[in-house]
């Protein structure tokens, strides 16, 4: 007998609202406040009406005086609008000591401490000093500066961090933002870390808008778009352009002219990691079709495209298929060679490649006439890029060019989103004798429990192990309620503060590569640590590139056959050299 077909309703965008406590009355209230009161609801399509966006993509949140709303360095996926009260924005980098924001304080071990690990390391895996956790929770005497952990009614704000004595902890000044202003929208839309810590200066009510809703509002409500774009132009765009090679020498007034004519465009889904998990096993051709096209091969080269955030696939037609030529990330550009050629030769060569969004991509488009007028004349002719000749036999996916990544390897890196890796663990299986010295070395430096698995996706004789890649776009950092997972201030490695991690597994669930493990803790006698409900206490654990060890990553140093390397996948020259050594 044939099995009955299971029917389920098709998942919809708002199946899971941002805040289930939002109701019609709350939406009415928001619509009574400017600038939301000025938004024309008729501009919104029937599939995504304004009321539904406010109902499903926003949350009304209350903050107490001193409560941290966003932390500098966090990756957030929402922006805030101040309904009442006021917030303070810290000015200057590291205005509040990182440790007070729940960050890990990295201190490299000295020689004696390093050697002492031989006898000091506990006998059992994942042993923790429970006194350390108790000390972190203990109430401090008045005047002592600390981050204390309290509970709030809002589920989204559980384990909020409070600054109990703000003037004492602040290193720099602050600016105050009052009711009617937005903040956090650039980090939310641009997938970039928060640039400042913001905390409530008095009891405040804020409207938190998740990025999906913010994107719709920006698209349909000119007031919101004006505000967000003006803020971006004012605070970020010129800096972003100046970081780009061909723009860095432009005089400020010309740079401003270029910035004024730059368009912002967004492609793909912000939470690409969830989609990627669902679709990674689908047919590659189907997957390629599902990637939004930003610019198409053969299309008139009408502008220079700069990647502001996210990743893009550069592909080229090859017979009946499309081969991936390369991948682009933040700071890289598309179409410059074509524009330069057309300007110099007075020709009209179209785009030679197709640019597709891999997950979420945020781009800046500078119209060709702006590039021709302000940028190209300032570049010495010898420095102008040339248009590559049409595909030659040497570029065929079936051949390998020395010094360049083989096409199948590029496809492999892009399909598996390893392009995100800044320190991916690659293993050459033709050299690896499976001795596990790397695993043992890792365990020796990390509570007797290795922080990676010598297994993973493989192409030919090369394996990308299941080890934290310290990603360019660290989606694991989105949503950490205590800020325990963060980038190390010095080297940019993604690290977890064991003391402030509450074991919620948000980071482990977000990591699309399964590179974060939840580990059960033990005391010095090897007993599992249990909470009051008799459940094992867990914490997130992952590779930290042996930040505290003076010798650096133990896995690399321990490999007797030079089979293992930690590589930045964007550094294709080093990667190609390693593959072809």
């Amino acid at each position: 007998m044939a099995e009955p077909i299971a029917t389920v309703s098709r998942p919809q965008r708002w199946d899971v609202p941002f805040d289930e406590r939002m109701d019609a009355a709350a939406v009415d209230r928001i619509l009574g406040i400017a600038p939301f009161s000025r938004i024309d609801a008729a501009e919104f399509p029937r599939s995504t009406p304004l009321r539904d966006i406010l109902l499903n993509d926003t949350s009304l949140r209350s903050f107490r005086k001193g409560e941290v709303i966003v932390r500098e360095g966090d990756y957030g996926n929402s922006a805030f609008f101040i309904i009442s009260g006021a917030v303070k924005v810290t000015l200057g980098k590291d205005a509040i000591p990182a440790v007070l924001l729940g960050r890990r304080e990295t201190r490299q071990k000295g020689w004696f401490e390093t050697v002492a690990q031989l006898w000091r390391n506990p006998e059992y895996p994942e042993v923790r000093d429970t006194a350390r956790y108790a000390a972190a929770r203990a109430p401090k005497a008045r005047g002592e500066t600390t981050a204390t952990f309290g509970r709030q009614a809002s589920a989204a704000a559980q384990n909020a961090v409070f600054l109990s004595d703000v003037p004492a902890v602040l290193k720099g000044g602050t600016a105050t933002l009052g009711a009617g202003l937005f903040f956090g929208e650039i980090a939310a839309l641009g997938r970039s870390p928060r640039t400042a810590t913001i905390f409530a200066d008095e009891p405040s009510e804020l409207l938190e808008i998740r990025w999906q809703g913010l994107r719709e509002l920006r698209l349909r409500a000119p007031e919101i778009k004006r505000f967000i774009d003006a803020n971006y132009r004012k605070y970020s765009l010129e800096n972003h352009l100046r970081e780009t090679e061909y723009f860095k020498d432009l005089p400020p007034e010309e740079l401003r002219l270029v910035a004024d004519q730059t368009r912002f465009e967004t492609y793909g889904a912000f939470d690409w990691h969830t989609d990627y998990k669902k679709h990674r096993d689908t047919d590659p051709v189907e997957r390629l079709r599902g990637e939004p096209v930003i610019a198409e091969e053969g299309q008139y080269a009408n502008g220079l495209i700069l990647i502001r955030a996210g990743f893009a696939r550069l592909s080229q037609k090859y017979n009946h298929g499309e081969r991936t030529v390369s991948y682009l990330a933040r700071g890289q550009m598309f179409g410059f060679a074509e524009l330069a050629h057309n300007w110099r030769a007075k020709e009209s060569v179209p785009f030679r490649n197709t640019l597709r969004a891999l997950g979420y991509v945020d781009v800046l488009v500078i119209p060709s006439h702006v590039v021709e007028r302000h940028i190209l004349p300032r570049i010495p002719p010898a420095d102008l890029p040339t248009v590559l000749p049409a595909t030659t036999e040497a570029d065929s996916p079936l051949t390998q060019t020395p010094g360049r990544l083989p096409t199948d390897f590029v496809e492999f890196l892009v399909d598996n989103r390893f392009i995100n890796g800044r320190a991916a663990m690659l293993i050459d299986l033709d050299r690896c004798t499976r001795c596990d010295d790397c695993v043992r070395a890792c365990a020796a430096g990390h509570e007797h429990n290795p922080r990676f698995v010598r297994h993973g996706q493989q192409l030919g004789s090369h394996l990308v192990a299941t080890a934290c890649m310290h990603c360019l776009d660290p989606v694991c950092m989105i949503g950490c309620p205590t800020g325990a997972i963060s980038r190390d201030a010095a080297g940019g490695q993604v690290v977890i503060n064991d003391t402030t991690c509450i074991g919620c597994a948000t980071c482990a669930n977000s990591c699309p590569y399964h590179n974060i493990q939840m580990v059960e803790l033990r005391n010095a006698h090897g007993d599992l640590l249990l909470d009051r409900e008799n459940r094992p206490v867990t914490k997130a654990a992952k590779c930290d590139l042996c930040l505290e060890q003076p010798a650096g990553p133990a896995c690399v140093r321990a490999c007797p056959h030079d089979a293992l390397a930690r590589l930045n996948i964007r550094d294709t020259d080093t990667l190609a050299a390693w593959l072809q050594r």
Binding site: T114, V115, Q117, L118, L429, D430, R431, C432, T433, R434, C435, D436, D437, R440, A441, A444, G445, V453, R454, H455, Q458, G460, S461, L463, C546, Q549, P550, A551, A554, V556, R557, A558, C559, P560, H561, D562, A563, Q580, R581
Partner: protein, 279 residues
């Protein structure tokens, strides 16, 4: 193997081989000068050899201290390999290229030869087996092999039960009981795998093909799935044999190295004690 090396790897190999040859020439020259000066060459070369053996043994100690900044293990391996070859040359200089005489000398000679041969064997394994393991099939972690084998066995048994339920025929079940149960029960054919013989798999697959004449279409579909399980099991056995050999040759090399160091030290003490002639 050399054909698969890149140009830069070949250059590195020649450079190291050149350095080794130069070291051997210098050692020979040193030995020659000592002999001409009527110095006790055996004592000098013996002490140098013992020191070198101790230094070679430090590689294992280095592995126990992965967190110390003591150069990368890959550099230690290269030094260990070339210093090992040099130790063989020094040993031959020390013994005067002659066979041992006496029980203790023979024992020492044999132990040194075993250490050197096991080292060369390990080097050969580490240069040839990894690529064979990679090419053969799915890369698996050695410690997980028993669990993966058990999983495969469960899958195979489920297929057999399904064949009985769906086809009311005992052909596959009988064959499984008679032939395959033992195949899935435990690791098999390790020696065949190490000797690159694919005959055990070929043999069992040919038996599966012979079975097809007694099966209907549904059973043949199940046999196809069972064949996939057999191939996966064969890969597990291959990985187990290869990875096991890569791991366990050290269990020969390291203990006899320890014996060599002890015997060498004892030999040195005896020589120093009797160096002035009988007392």
């Amino acid at each position: 193997m050399a054909a698969t090396l890149t140009r830069s790897a070949r250059r590195r190999l020649w450079l190291r081989a050149g350095l080794l040859a130069a070291a051997c020439v210098l050692a020979w020259r040193w030995h020659h000068d000592l002999a001409i000066a009527l110095r006790p060459t055996s004592v000098t070369t013996g002490l140098a050899l013992l020191g070198l053996c101790v230094a070679l043994g430090l590689f294992n100690a280095r592995k126990k201290l992965p967190f110390l900044p003591l150069l990368r293990a890959a550099i230690w391996t290269q030094v260990h390999v070339y210093a090992g070859w040099f130790a063989v040359f020094l040993f031959l200089l020390h013994t005067g290229f002659r066979a041992p005489t006496g029980a203790f000398e023979t024992l020492l000679y044999t132990v040194f030869a075993l250490v050197a041969l096991s080292g060369v064997f390990g080097l050969w394994l580490s240069r040839t087996l990894p690529s064979r393991l990679t090419m053969h099939g799915e890369n698996v972690i050695y410690e997980r092999i028993p669990a993966l084998r058990a999983k495969l066995q469960r899958e195979a048994e489920a297929l057999v039960l399904r064949s009985v339920e769906e086809t009311r025929s005992s052909t596959i079940a009988d064959f499984y009981t008679a032939r395959l149960k033992g195949y899935f029960d435990r690791p098999r054919d390790s020696l065949h795998h190490l000797l690159r013989s694919g005959s055990p798999l070929k043999s069992v697959l040919s038996e599966v093909r012979l079975l097809e004449r007694y099966t209907n279409e549904r059973e043949r579909a199940i046999l196809t799935e069972l064949t996939a399980c057999l191939r996966a099991k064969e890969n597990l056995d291959f990985q187990r044999a290869g990875q096991g050999l890569l791991k366990y040759w050290l269990f020969v090399h390291i203990p006899i190295t320890a014996s060599l160091l002890l015997l060498g030290a004892l030999h040195g003490l005896l020589v120093l004690y009797y160096i002035g002639g009988p007392r």
